[in-house]
């Protein structure tokens, strides 16, 4: 935000009132974030297909746009725009139309507190991390609404499973980030990233063994949180047809799709900022911070894709078992362990 407002004052001079500056800066940032989200969907759908393709001994899209089908997402987008917008007769129309936006906005709001580069953060909240987890838990509501409003049995199953899963996995997700908050002493995202400056050894992932474990747990929980990979309960295409978005077509479906890939990138960005040193490079001074951040996040996205295309899916009760009987105790252990570690090493007094 600071860099944006700085830019705006440079352009328009000092004549802008602080209020106008805030509003115009906020709007610019929101626009940028929306574009980032849209780009996420475009880039990562292509990437997902290519990664899946090469993992499976095939090419993936090759024909649209010359080199390895780079324009495939654009073609898909055009196709999806031309689709008929179907609302089932028996559907709860208001909820049906609202739910894609609930999910989408929940995901969009979380982007406000992601620090991409020094000064490039939409809202430098002191409660940054807490805020991200809070707003991203709007998604289960959207999924429930979609499933219920579709008036389709498969969609209802998907929604019930999805809501249960996402509510459960919020807990290990947030708990896994707590050791970092303890180490930093702040929930502010900028502060968390700043604390990791100066080489790879200062990143929280190698801070202590418990934080490494916490990172692994965060990674697993984040896959579950975005309903992918071995935890794609709400969709389960081989069981529930298409889960909660069975009845959605055209642009409404595209919003779900957009939100899914935006969330995928979002959790990777959080992991990058919280555990992997944000914009700090492996060694040396800060150089092209935005790019460094992006590379780290994309590597995490790639890992998530690798997991998704390798592992079979868990059953719904095993999913809950994994969450409550494995992940939650282990994350608690991480909190306790890293607390003791910090106390012993004298960081936490």
């Amino acid at each position: 935000m600071e860099s944006i407002t700085g830019l705006l004052t440079k352009i328009f001079g000092d004549g802008m009132s602080p209020m106008a500056l805030l509003i115009s800066g906020g709007l610019t940032m929101a626009l940028i974030m929306s574009l980032v989200m849209a780009m996420c969907a475009i880039v990562f759908t292509w990437m997902e297909r290519k990664v899946a393709g090469f993992l499976q001994s095939r090419y993936g899209p090759m024909r649209v746009g010359g080199f390895h089908g780079v324009l495939q997402p654009v073609a898909d987008m055009l196709k999806i725009l031309g689709k008929e917008d179907i609302i089932p007769d028996e559907a709860d129309k208001a909820l049906f139309m609202l739910s894609p936006f609930v999910i989408f906005i929940g995901s969009l709001m979380a982007w406000a507190a992601i620090p991409f580069a020094p000064g490039f953060i939409a809202s430098n909240l002191d409660l940054g991390l807490f805020y991200i987890f809070a707003v991203s838990s709007a998604a289960p509501a959207g999924i429930l609404m979609a499933g219920w409003a579709s008036n389709n049995k498969w969609a209802l199953y998907g929604a019930a499973r999805g809501a249960a899963q996402m509510v459960s996995y919020e807990i290990p997700l947030a708990l896994a980030a707590i050791p970092v908050v303890m180490a930093t002493g702040s929930l502010n995202m900028n502060a968390i990233v700043d604390a990791q400056g100066g080489g790879v050894l200062n990143w929280y992932i190698v801070h202590d063994p418990f934080l490494f474990l916490a990172f692994c747990l965060y990674f697993i929980a984040s896959i579950a949180e975005v309903n992918r990979g071995p935890f794609d309960m709400p969709e389960t295409e081989s069981e529930l047809v298409a889960g909660y978005h069975t009845e959605y077509t055209g642009m409404r479906f595209a919003f779900f799709f957009l939100a899914e890939y935006a969330n995928l990138f979002l959790v990777s960005c959080i992991a990058t900022a919280v555990f992997l040193g944000g914009w700090h490079p492996i060694a040396g001074p800060v150089f092209l911070p935005g790019l460094v951040f992006l590379i780290k996040a994309v590597i995490l996205v790639f890992l998530q894709m690798l997991v998704r295309w390798t592992l079979p899916r868990l059953r719904v009760d095993q999913l809950m078992h994994t969450c409550w009987k494995v992940m939650v105790p282990l994350t608690l252990l991480c909190v306790l362990g890293s607390g003791i570690w910090m106390m012993v090493s004298g960081e936490l007094l």
Partner: protein, 388 residues
């Protein structure tokens, strides 16, 4: 209608409210990704728990048995291709053996060996699909694509042999339609060599994956008694711990000349007869098929590939005979009734998937929806063969 009282719902307001819940009826299929074709399962569920399953069939019924009455004996071979379209060679084999038994005709040695090689390659191809789609039902996409990759290699051999990639119409009554091409033996041996390596890869990628074991072990347990009651055969019966295989226990063609094991479920990861056992039986059968193919390629003689003393238009002597052979799905039986003419009087097919599928009615209740999908996947049904 006159004496029925109209209820509005508020008459019972004063009475204590009775908690009522009803079962949710779901149609799984005919267009459902997990039903392997056009099967419709009427599932009644209580939340995630399945209370009853009823399979409804007939969406792929093509009257093949009735058509037989208008075809001559050779012509109907084309229709046997289309029963189990994932293992047409096995289907052809069953029908060819059945008619040859009626005719009491001697099939040349070379044809016998080519037939066995084809049938075993086809068994591998069919099991590859079974394993791949089972993995897909579990949510693992990649093994499916790897399985298809190896299957394509087998199909290439078949294409060179018969000209078709899916429906071969390669076996004929009294032999096979074309002789093996020049480097057939080398290609087959190379394929077997590749296959044996790939089985190791599948085992690492899928079989011994913890999530996969969790999803399949102790799930959909079908014991031997249930198998006998429902007439299950093939990997379902062997998965239940009964080492029964027509190839060994009721040998047809030249299977009595080969050495091979009958893999059967031992409950390594859970109970005997669970989904994992059925899966591993298929996996091990592929290795056994490789063994048979090696022996068959070694023993393949030169000579005729078609019985010389058969006329173009076959006339089967009057009578009836039931012949069973082992297809990749189980025991495929052809009950042939002939009236001495050039056309069958009645061809009755006993298809393995039909019997195997109906177990789902017995084992379905009480499991979760995900387990139902896993169990249907582990039965490896092909609807073309169920409905015919």
């Amino acid at each position: 209608m006159s004496d029925t009282t109209v209820t509005h719902g508020w008459e019972h307001q004063d009475k204590p409210r009775v908690q009522q819940s009803e079962l949710l009826e779901i149609n799984m299929g005919p267009q459902h990704p997990a039903t392997h074709g056009v099967l419709r399962l009427l599932v009644k569920t209580d939340g995630e728990i399945v209370q009853s399953v009823t399979p409804y069939l007939g969406y792929l019924h093509r009257c093949a048995e009735k058509i037989a009455e208008g075809c001559d004996w050779r012509q109907w071979m084309v229709y046997t291709d289309r029963f189990d379209y994932l293992a047409p060679m096995n289907m052809n084999f069953g029908y060819a053996v059945a008619v040859e038994n009626m005719l009491e005709v001697e099939v040349p040695e070379r044809a016998q060996y080519i037939r066995v090689i084809c049938a075993e390659l086809q068994r591998i191809a069919s099991h590859l699909i079974a394993i791949g789609t089972f993995g897909l039902d579990m949510g693992a996409w990649t093994p499916l694509l790897y399985c298809f990759r190896e299957r394509e290699e087998i199909l290439n051999i078949f294409e060179r042999l018969s000209g078709g990639r899916m429906l071969y119409n390669y076996f004929d009554i009294g032999g096979v339609r074309f002789d093996a091409y020049d480097d057939f033996a080398e290609e087959v041996l190379f394929m077997v060599h590749v296959m044996e390596q790939k089985i190791v890869e599948y085992n690492t990628l899928l079989t011994y994956n913890k999530i996969f074991i969790e999803r399949t072990a102790d799930v959909g347990v079908i014991d031997a008694e249930t198998c006998y009651a429902y007439g299950c055969t093939g990997p379902v019966l062997r998965g239940a711990g009964v080492p029964f295989d027509c190839r060994r226990d009721d040998p047809y063609s030249i299977y009595d000349r080969f050495e091979f094991e009958i893999p059967y479920g031992q409950g390594e990861q859970g109970t005997v007869g669970d989904c994992w056992d059925r899966y591993i039986v298929r996996m091990r059968e592929m290795s056994e098929s490789c063994r048979i193919i090696r022996q068959a390629v070694d023993g393949m003689p030169e000579g005729d590939f078609m019985s010389p003393d058969l006329k173009k238009l076959v006339k089967v002597p009057a009578g009836s005979l039931y012949t069973r052979t082992e297809s990749s799905k189980g025991e495929i039986g052809f009950h042939i009734i002939a009236d001495g003419g050039s056309k069958p009087f009645r061809n009755k097919v006993r298809s393995p998937s039909y019997s195997n599928l109906h177990v789902i009615e017995k084992v379905g209740p009480g499991m979760m929806i995900s387990d139902l999908v896993a169990t249907v996947g582990s039965l490896d049904i092909v609807l073309g063969e169920i409905d015919r």
